[in-house]
Symmetry: C2
Subunit: 370 residues, 2 copies
């Protein structure tokens, strides 16, 4: 069996050993006589899986006891509503509009209160993280319930290299596409949340890490659906109802793989090396150029293109022939995108880099001979 | 490997051949060079899986084209909020309170409008489906947006053997624990919804089947979170955001298994035979008695107990020694519960029946000799 080089933006590549372990346990989980898929979420065996999963995440991210960890469903999109519903006590929050999902989060919040766009890079098609000085200024006014950012913008290939200063105002961050790709100083945040389908596991699990004091009074808005009530979910250990049991189990396997292979510091080192290889090509080869401003470049999603959509299409088609998959950019930006999450190893990135070089050389030869 | 007899109420037993197929495809899905777990939900390969899953469900349930099928997340519990948010246009709905989840659905709806309890069996601890004559009467008044029932009450072991007459008022049914256990006349309903983790697949997928005309004007309440907006989810083919891709794939495998093994008529026949075996024991052995009124007995969840909690505990402990798992009743009722969903085969039910007979005989011998 030949595994392809999978650069998909999410759902995305999983570590091969995680898949192998999962396959080997799929019919009979460690002598239980049943699959994890068939296990009651109220059984001791499943509770053990859940507890180990949470404990491992707490270890690799150094999550303080003052934070609650939740494993929910519905993706970051459902949390876009849960955030104002839980936190907008005074009816006003700040949003940094740095990309497609940042904007969606902002638009959803506007349905529940005043959501102020503190900074935006929409005028340059989100090619950068906007100037964050207005964030600190507004935070100092003391009238915001929270400030929301999307820390890595999957579609546009940008990420925060420094967090905004929000003072006493809780920082709420959608970290979906950079979650577990590097260490995170949890105490800088009020809430961190992520769809699992990039670095943490399969689609269908959302990890929410929330400072306990923010939820102790229950949801800010009484219309909050019970499922979205973080205090209730916390009290029930993420099991107000049946969770995505198999998804959480898979997340646990990914967390254990991260821990076993060096933790988040090692992940960051590898991710930076992979990103640098691609960015150095983008800066060095005339045919390709990166679409994100250099100061905002993501180490998770490398976006680039050639001079024409036709050439982009030829590049993507040739990639497929070489077993390089998931390289087409999002329809909002076109071009190419290489998502180089933890499970995409250096060998895959080198294969892509070699193909980029080859493509450029072939192109040069053709141009010269024509 | 010895598979146990799994009577869990959900997540629950899956067909062995579904698990075997899934394990065999887990690392490389049919030569794609990746797992379904790693596949972009926007890829052609995944869209094919999704489309086949929906088409198979439409075939086995004979779902008319006038109904939309959605595969969502968050379980029936999240739908308890989605139902009033989408449908309570005039602010008033009727609920039949026939068990724990029926009551939770009712309570959630009361947060968004007037939810009238049309009938209840709470006074007899939900041992029956209540008299439904008030439902038809109230439906005739023409002031309700919909009438909600929970068609099978997992915890109490009861089910509807006839649907209430609701006239022009759309009937909304939580069918979680009877979904796909027998044919369903979809046109009798406005909405049918089910958590997948009983008969349809793994936990983490909710199937919603809704009559298209009910959602064409969008949600009834403007505060409806976008994720819960059935019209938007319909327009996006259940992919407003990343769905539980692997869960949907597994549902597809279960649907195909149902189709291959005779469809819903065959499922019903087998389920009735399994239920009859257990109910005949409950009626025939003095030691055990069923907790649901005979006229309301479920063919999915058979609830029973002995004369004392101690004896129940001894029965459950002995069951485990015989590889009979998941037989403890819900904490709200105690005693025992055998969930005999599609994937629990007659051999498992016979093993349980043999153990019940053996337990009763041993008990009789002990009593006689003491």
């Amino acid at each position: 069996m030949a595994r392809v080089h999978n650069f998909s933006a999410g759902p995305a590549a999983l570590p091969l050993e995680v898949l192998e372990q999962t396959a080997s346990e799929l019919i009979d989980y460690r002598g239980c006589g049943m699959s994890v898929l068939e296990m009651s979420h109220r059984s001791a065996a499943y509770q053990r899986i859940y507890d180990e999963t949470e404990a491992c995440l707490r270890r690799i991210l150094s999550i303080p006891d003052t934070y609650q960890v939740l494993f929910l469903q519905g993706g970051a999109t459902l949390e876009f509503a849960a955030i104002p519903l839980n936190l907008m006590r005074r009816g006003r929050a700040g949003y940094v509009v740095s990309g497609n999902f940042a904007k969606k989060a902002w638009e959803e919040a506007r349905r529940y209160g005043e959501a102020v766009a503190l900074a935006s890079s929409e005028d340059t098609n989100f090619d950068r993280i906007p100037d964050l000085s207005p964030v600190a200024e507004r935070a100092a006014c003391g009238d915001l319930d929270y400030i929301h950012i999307c820390q890595n913008n999957t579609i546009f290939g940008t990420m925060y290299h420094e967090l905004p200063s929000t003072g006493e105002v809780p920082l709420v961050a959608d970290v979906s596409s950079c979650f577990l790709s590097m260490p995170l100083d949890i105490e800088r945040y009020g809430v961190v949340y992520a769809g699992a389908q990039k670095n943490a596991g399969p689609a269908g699990v959302t990890v929410v890490i929330v400072r306990r004091d923010l939820i102790e009074d229950g949801p800010a808005l009484p219309i909050c659906p019970t499922y979205l009530d973080w205090r209730t979910q916390a009290a029930k250990g993420s099991m107000l109802n049946t969770p995505n049991t198999f998804g959480i189990y898979l997340c646990g396997k990914v967390f254990a793989w991260i821990e076993r292979t060096g933790g988040l510091a090692a992940m960051e080192q590898r991710n930076r090396a992979k990103a640098e290889l691609l960015y150095s090509l983008l800066d060095g080869i005339d045919l390709f150029f990166g679409t994100a401003q250099p100061a905002s470049r993501s180490i998770a999603n490398v976006t680039f293109r050639t001079a024409s959509p036709e050439l982009d299409a030829a590049f993507i088609a040739g990639a497929r022939e070489r077993g390089i998959e998931g390289i087409a950019g999002h329809r909002l930006v076109g071009g190419m995108r290489a998502s180089i999450y933890n499970a995409v190893d250096m060998a895959s990135v080198e294969a892509l880099a070699a193909y980029m070089t080859e493509f450029e050389e072939n192109r040069r030869t053709q141009t010269r001979s024509s």
